[in-house]
Amino acid sequence: MLRKFFYKFSFFILLVGASLQIIAQDETPAKEVLIQKDFKSINVIHRSVPVDIERNQDRENNIMKFYQGTWRGKIQPLHPFKPHPVETVAELEMIGYIDKMSHGDDSIMIVDSRPKSAILITGMIPGATRVEYIDIVSSHYRMKTFELFNIKKNNSQWDFTDAKTLVIYCNGLWCGKSPRMIRKLLKLGYPAEKIKYYRGGMQAWKSVGLTTVKE
């Protein structure tokens, strides 16, 4: 009885098997996730180690849990430092600055203004240096930090002529850490044209799936 059944329906059983295989194989090759048209990745240097900046190629990838919440902080304006001409930049300009810096331009510095704990969770943008608010406020740390920024002391006055161009970011457009730091820098007399504010921050960087590195 059973054998008869198999003989009768062997064709269908084969067909089912074949169609199952077709379903399993039917995966169209995914389109590449690009930064710009014809621009997939860029090689930069983070702490003298080469890193490729590119977007996450998995189309199903979601932004990390840490940045899914909607309640944090207060919304920052697009130009919080008016009338100071501090430029607000976005991802592509940021990548441009990192590219220039890692190709030997010493006059640019990417500054991560978040504490160590946040960087442990999210990583940092390749090429960035961690400088916290306290490193600028307290006179004890300020000497070291301003040395990093290439500022010299002339007769107990800061000389900003050779100061580096700072591209400062923090968690995102609701985060007050980098605006606070930029305000302090402006108060100390840092030239506003040499400060760039990446408003989107780590959240916008992650929300388009760009590469991050550990400190």
Partner: protein
């Protein structure tokens, strides 16, 4: 005979769908549990700090279509961004000022809110434009008071473009087809986010019609940044 061959395929499809449905039921159960948990949490957290719009400001009250309307952020501290905006692999990244050397200004949330509040003023010189394809507003909602102008229709359908320019944007077109932009309204245009090409496309085609660039504002953050901050949307 054809039907006979097709039946096993149908059977496979039904089998697969039944299999795929089973884990979903579990998810539904867990979300129900979460809902209950959330409600209890809200009761506990009632005395917690509010979610701020600006320092000292929780929400702004506007008048839209004659009715008061409050724009504020979602006060629930467990609220997450919509699933559709968690994806990282969409589009290509737009620069901060994509329309250089045209003087199209890039704006952010505070400017957008002030433009929305100007919608109901007597002058009526502002239009908030949703440039996305027509399915997107049904998926994600849109900004309060937004006018929906799909970019592809504006680009391809010249009749529609001229009608919207005349009726919505306040452009005067005479019999010869010459356009007078002296009373043209200020357009605050948005789409999905900093990776989305829909509002840039609309702005480019507006610039092709010689629309004055200083009257076009580009909200680059778009719906993603709006929802990322938990701001109010309407269906």
């Amino acid at each position: 005979m054809k039907l006979l061959i097709l039946t096993p395929i149908f059977a496979v499809i039904i089998f697969a769908s039944v299999n795929a449905n089973q884990p979903n039921q579990e998810i539904v159960k867990t979300t129900n549990d979460n809902l209950v948990a959330n409600i209890t949490n809200v009761k506990k957290e009632k005395k917690k700090k509010p979610v701020w719009l600006k320092p000292g400001v929780i929400g702004t009250t506007l008048v839209i279509d004659g009715e008061p309307f409050v724009i504020s952020r979602n006060q629930d501290r467990k609220h997450l961004i919509a699933k559709i905006y968690q994806k990282t692999g969409r589009g290509i990244i737009k620069p901060m000022h994509p329309f250089k050397p045209h003087a199209v200004e890039t704006i952010a949330e505070h400017e957008m809110i002030s433009y929305i509040s100007r919608l109901s003023s007597k002058k009526g010189d502002v239009v908030v434009v949703d440039a996305r394809k027509s399915i997107w507003p049904t998926l994600t909602g849109s900004l309060p008071g937004a006018t929906h102008v799909p970019f592809y229709r504006f680009k391809k359908d010249k009749q529609y473009a001229l009608e919207t320019l005349e009726d919505e944007f306040g452009v005067v077109i005479n019999n010869k087809g010459e356009m007078d932009f002296s009373n043209a309204k200020t357009l605050a245009i948005y789409c999905n986010g900093n990776w989305c090409k829909m509002s840039p496309e609309l702005i480019w085609s507006l610039l092709d019609y010689n629309y004055p660039a200083h009257k076009i504002k580009y909200y680059r953050g778009g719906m993603q940044a709006w929802q990322l901050l938990g701001l109010t949307t309407v269906d």
